[in-house]
Symmetry: C2
Subunit: 251 residues, 2 copies
């Protein structure tokens, strides 16, 4: 089929494809995905960042790209180039009014995600980072079927049991679709009070590391709760030093 | 059609149907839904709590009901009765192994949610509280189409812009499916350090109230970040006094 050949042609120009997943919402997937893409770009790599959260695209807000729109060419859609060698694609760039709810069922979502890979002119990339919504439904399943040869998935969790329950399901999802789990990152792990410098475990700590050992997948480290990350995300400013350098070595 | 008549018969025995929604994950929907159901039960009401988060059912964990299973009768499925007059239903009660990922596309989810209303013997209820996953996809759309005459939705948000963006879409979703918005609750709003008793705005404060005014929907109050809520949720113990009494008056 024509689509299949186009998909092959486009994805063969992308050296590494890494999905950022989590069964649970609000654990920091988009923040980690955006940060991972920025750090890889800073090391000189050509990077693409694809937001497949159809109902809640956060990447444009995190990178200060609200209001951007894509350009169409004879051959397809050009992703938005934030700076040279850093390309971004999100459903938010296709919406008329950004407060509009995207009320689509599964099959519509499959089509749009497929177009993000067959119609978008990503060009030559060293890395394509994919930010996925929570759950193990249409969105992650679609991208796993379209990118069978992806390098694998980075799984983000917080330490509390409520999140761990969902993240275990996400790791089993990766096994079922034959995606390697590159590692687990524990986010919002411990908080240092800015007034008295004492530690408080708001969302617990250590649960992510323990679960990674139990599920026999690498543990990539932990990120503390830091109000500056929230402020940076809301203002569309990049937060450097989110993750320790040795974590990125894993990639 | 036979199903339509069964649906009518079952739902006509339920006085009030309230959905707890949010476009954003991890803001506290399940925690608020479970707490709302418990408070209504304590005032003597017959309450049902329905978890339609197919990929990440949290209600059983929050109520200490992991490992429970439903019983089937000649007429349908009996919900699990946690105590007299408090019935719970979740996909988690139907799974063999709780770490299994439910890897379903939209149409399968529609069928299961429909069965939660046509096959489950809820009996006479004063309130059915529905805990929904994030987004405006198959799950909330299915329940909105099956419960057209619901009282409406409680929308949970946190104060940061990343969450507000998705919650506005959720409020527009309610308008599109003709569900009244009963009000917005701002959760994780401000944090009191247990060591020095000083306030820290980790996830900002006030964004939920401002957005409620902007979207012209009632504001139901705010809940601070409290590590005891995390501990109670992980241990399956109920957290009393989550929300101020005047908030529940709205119901
Ligand atoms: N380590 C952290 N400390 C404090 N806030 C964080 C941290 N990581 C993420 N956040 C904030 O938490 C919220 C949710 O993050 P997001 O990346 O949108 O999660 P997800 O993509 O999993 O839903 C955002 O407001 C973000 O700024
Ligand atoms: N006000 C609060 N303070 C501290 N933790 C909270 C609060 N509300 C919810 N939580 C915790 O946040 C996590 C996510 O809550 P949950 O109800 O699962 O959110 P959602 O259903 O929106 O994904 C849980 O671990 C819960 O215990
Ligand atoms: Zn302090």
């Amino acid at each position: 089929e024509q689509d299949q050949r186009t998909l092959q042609r486009r994805t063969s120009q992308i050296k590494h494809q890494i999905a950022v997943l989590s069964g649970k919402g609000g654990v920091g997937k988009s923040t980690v995905a955006a940060n991972l893409a920025l750090v890889l770009h800073e090391t000189g790599k050509r990077v693409g960042l694809l937001d497949i959260d159809i109902h809640g695209p956060s990447i444009p807000q995190l990178l200060g790209m609200q209001g951007y729109a894509v350009q169409r060419t004879a051959n397809g859609i050009l992703p938005v180039e934030l700076f040279d060698g850093f390309k971004v694609m999100s459903i938010a760039f296709l919406l008329e009014n950004r407060d509009d709810a995207v009320i689509w069922r599964g099959p519509m979502k499959y089509n749009v995600i497929k177009q993000f890979l067959t119609d978008v002119e990503w060009g030559q990339l060293d890395y394509l980072i994919i930010d996925s919504p929570p759950g193990t439904g249409d969105e992650p399943l679609t991208i796993a079927q379209l990118l069978k040869d992806a390098d694998g998935a980075v799984v983000v969790t917080t330490a509390q049991q409520i999140a761990i329950n969902d993240v275990k399901k996400c790791i089993n999802f990766c096994h079922r679709v034959n995606w390697p789990v590159l590692g687990v990152l524990e986010n919002m792990s411990g908080f240092l009070c800015p007034h008295c410098n004492q530690k408080v475990d708001i969302f617990k700590t250590g649960g992510g590391k323990k679960m990674a050992e139990e599920m026999n997948v690498p543990f990539l480290g932990s990120i503390p709760i830091d109000p500056n990350i929230v402020i940076a995300g809301d203002d569309g400013k990049f937060f450097k030093n989110l993750v320790k350098p040795q974590t990125y070595k894993a990639f």
